[in-house]
């Protein structure tokens, strides 16, 4: 494994998006992973529609029929991959733009599919496996506890204590290592793309330290593969 890796340097990550005041983080995590996978499959970076997921995806957790993807009220990346697999794919952002509300009806147009899921899998809790999967398969959809993210402005977040109760969906785009003056040594970290706009964090990104499943970041990691589809 390389000592550091960042999919932003390889053109697989779209610009930071903003979910607004809507609990649709799960849809941004899903599109981010599929955008990366589609880039690997086709060589083209296409921004995909979160609004399609918000409006049309009501897929339920197979183990809990009451837990279904539900627009601004929340959802799950794995269920959204399942929806995308069943629906045939996702449209481009520009063809089905984000509105930040879930009051609209589903306007999915099958003739405008821009990216399709070939398959998706869950990655084991092992951090080396997570790193290997991000390098080999592209950005990964991950869940995290976001309690420290409300006040985060920059640097490598490495809280001494942090709950592992997962409540936010984000995108793991790479990893690196930086000198931590407070600890007087190099500390490895994950690079996370968030969906709260560029004015949050480090231009919309978050760095969280690696090594001990901080804030549950290693607990729910999904990788997706895309198949090439010609958009019309």
């Amino acid at each position: 494994l390389p000592t550091d890796f960042d999919w932003r340097d390889h053109g697989a990550v779209t610009a930071v998006k903003n979910q607004g005041s809507c609990g649709s983080c799960w849809s941004f995590s899903t599109t981010g992973a599929l955008e990366g996978a589609n880039f690997l499959a086709t060589g083209k970076l296409v921004s995909l529609s979160e609004q399609q997921l918000v409006d049309c995806d009501h897929e339920c957790d197979p183990e809990d029929a009451r837990s279904c993807d539900s627009g601004c009220n929340g959802g799950l990346m794995n269920s959204a991959f399942e929806y995308t697999l069943k629906a045939g794919g996702l449209q481009r952002e520009e063809d089905y733009p984000y509105t930040g509300t879930d009051r609209g009806t589903c306007k999915f147009d099958k003739t405008k599919i821009a990216a399709s899921v070939a398959n998706f899998s869950v990655v084991s809790l092992d951090e080396d496996q997570i790193a290997a999967n991000v390098v080999k398969n592209g950005p990964l959809a991950v869940a995290i506890n976001a309690v420290f993210m409300q006040t985060y402005m920059g640097g490598v977040s490495c809280p001494y204590i942090c709950s592992k109760r997962l409540d936010h969906g984000v995108l793991l785009v790479g990893y690196g290592e930086g000198y931590a003056p407070i600890r007087m040594k190099e500390k490895p970290y994950w690079i996370i793309k968030n969906s709260w706009g560029e004015s949050w964090g480090e231009n919309g990104f978050y760095k969280i330290c690696r090594g001990r499943n901080i804030c549950g970041v290693d607990s729910m990691v999904s990788t997706v593969a895309a198949i090439h589809t010609h958009s019309q």
């Binding site: 649709s24 809990d64 837990s67 899998s121 869940a143 409300q150 006040t151 003056p181 407070i182 990788t223």
Partner: protein, 113 residues
């Protein structure tokens, strides 16, 4: 705080000085800057007072986060006028997960060499 043996050496040195201004000393000024920076407007004086109270509480929270998470910078973000519950309701949205027993697991990749 729970410290595992392998990270205890990380905690030997703790920052005890700061050259930055403490926002808690002048919350009115920082609330004014916050409103200007993030274009915040409140419907009436009651709402304004309520949000200022939440803002002050979040300043204390950011300070606590800074102590618990010294390698990051914590402070005033666009969410500084939201209570933790409002923040969770409006900006988070991950449903509880119960991975199905037949969930497809990614194959183990080689990580040596």
């Amino acid at each position: 705080s729970i410290v595992s043996p392998d990270e205890s050496d990380d905690l030997l040195i703790r920052q005890v000085v700061s050259d930055g201004e403490d926002p808690l000393l002048n919350p009115e000024h920082h609330f004014l800057s916050f409103k200007k920076r993030f274009g915040k407007h409140y419907a009436n004086p009651e709402e304004h007072a309520l949000r200022f109270g939440v803002f002050k509480s979040n300043l204390r929270r950011a300070k606590r986060h800074q102590k618990l998470d010294p390698s990051a910078v914590h402070g005033i973000t666009q969410f500084a006028d939201l209570t933790p519950a409002e923040f969770r309701r409006s900006y988070l949205g991950l449903r509880p997960l119960r991975l199905p027993s037949d969930a497809h697991k990614a194959p183990i990749l080689p990580t040596n060499d």
